[in-house]
C-alpha cells in the first residue's frame, strides 16, 4: 500500500513538473526583473489607422517590474506603466491635444498601466523563449478594463554580451494588444476623428534581475 502511495505521489510530481511551463535555463527560483532603463531603450507604441492618416505614438519611458518562477511562468505577476506625458506623435499640436483634459487628461490620469493577472496558452518556442497570452487590467484615462496581450518572453543568462546592456540576467518582452478608445471614455472627436476607435498597443522592453 505504501509503495502504491509513494508511486502515486511521485507520478503526480512528475506530471506536474512536465506540465510546468517555464524557461529551461541556468537559473532557478523566483526572479524579479526591473524594466526601468535610464537610456530610454524600452519602448511602448500605439498605432491608429484611418482613411485619412496613420498615427504612431511612441514613449521611451517604460517602467515596471515582473516576478516569476523561472520554471513556471504561470506565476508571473507585476505591472508596467508609462507616463502619458511621454507620448510623442511627431506633431507638436497633436501631442498637446493628446495630454489635454479633452483627451488623455494627463494632469488627472498621469499614467497608463498594465497589471498582470494571469498567464495562459503557453507555447515553448525554445528553451529560453516562451509565447503566452497574458491577461491583465489595462488602465487608461482612469478606466480599467481587462485585456489579453500576446506576449513573447526571452530569457538570457548574464554574459559578457548581456552586460553591455545591463548587469544580471535579461528578460526581453514583446507584448501586443488592442483597445477600443470609447471603452476608456476617450472622445476622438477632438482631433476630428483622425484617430481610429481601435488602437493597437505594442510594448518592447528588456528588464534585468540585477539587484
Amino acid at each position: 500500500m505504501k509503495t502504491i502511495l509513494i508511486s502515486f505521489i511521485l507520478s503526480l510530481a512528475v506530471i506536474s513538473i512536465s506540465f510546468a511551463q517555464g524557461f529551461k535555463v541556468e537559473a532557478s527560483g523566483e526572479q524579479t526583473f526591473n524594466f526601468e532603463d535610464k537610456n530610454g531603450r524600452n519602448q511602448a507604441t500605439f498605432f491608429s489607422t484611418t482613411p485619412l492618416e496613420d498615427i504612431t505614438g511612441i514613449s521611451n519611458v517604460v517602467k515596471g517590474k515582473v516576478t516569476f518562477d523561472v520554471s513556471d511562468v504561470k506565476t508571473l505577476k507585476g505591472s508596467v506603466s508609462i507616463p502619458v506625458s511621454s507620448l510623442k506623435t511627431g506633431i507638436e499640436l497633436r501631442d498637446e491635444h493628446l495630454v489635454s483634459d479633452n483627451w488623455m487628461d494627463a494632469a488627472n490620469f498621469p499614467n497608463v498601466t498594465f497589471d498582470i493577472k494571469s498567464v495562459n496558452d503557453f507555447e515553448v518556442e525554445a528553451d529560453n523563449k516562451i509565447n503566452a497570452k497574458v491577461t491583465g487590467d489595462f488602465t487608461a484615462h482612469g478606466v480599467t478594463k481587462k485585456v489579453v496581450a500576446e506576449v513573447t518572453m526571452t530569457y538570457l543568462i548574464e554574459s559578457e554580451q548581456t552586460k553591455q546592456r545591463a548587469p544580471g540576467d535579461l528578460l526581453g518582452v514583446q507584448a501586443k494588444f488592442n483597445i477600443n478608445l470609447s471603452e476608456y471614455d476617450i472622445e476622438n472627436m477632438i482631433i476630428g476623428q483622425k484617430v481610429a476607435e481601435e488602437i493597437e498597443i505594442n510594448v518592447n522592453m528588456v528588464g534585468s534581475n540585477a539587484r
Binding site: Q43, I58, E92, T154, G172, Q174, M205, V206
Partner: protein, 102 residues
C-alpha cells in the same frame, strides 16, 4: 479679359500645377509633416532578446496637402494652403487689372 488678366490666370494655374507636382513628388501625403518615423538599427543583443527595431521621430519636412496644425510656420506650408493663396492673390490681381472699358 485683357492681356494682364490672361497673364495672371496663366501664371496662377501654372503655380498651382507646380505645387501639385511638388506635392505628388513628396509622396502625396495628406498632412504636411515636420517629423517622420524611422527605425533605428537593431543590435545583435536585441535580436537575441527578440526585440524589434526601436522607432524614433526624425526631423524631416514632408510637403502635404493640408497643414496638420497651426503651431509652426512650416506646418502651415501645404499644397492646399499655397494653392488657396495663389487663388486669392490671383483673384485680387484679376479684379485690380480689370480694364475700365469692360
Amino acid at each position: 479679359m485683357n492681356n494682364k488678366q490672361k497673364l495672371i490666370i496663366t501664371v496662377g494655374i501654372f503655380l498651382i500645377v507646380v505645387t501639385v507636382i511638388i506635392w505628388l513628388l513628396n509622396g502625396g501625403d495628406f498632412f504636411t509633416k515636420t517629423q517622420i518615423l524611422v527605425e533605428k538599427e537593431v543590435s545583435e543583443l536585441d535580436k537575441m532578446l527578440g526585440i524589434p527595431p526601436q522607432k524614433e521621430f526624425k526631423d524631416t519636412f514632408v510637403f502635404g496637402l493640408v497643414p496638420p496644425g497651426l503651431t509652426a510656420t512650416m506646418e502651415m506650408v501645404s499644397a492646399a494652403t499655397i494653392s488657396g493663396l495663389i487663388v486669392v492673390i490671383s483673384g485680387i490681381l484679376f479684379f485690380r487689372f480689370k480694364s475700365k472699358k469692360s
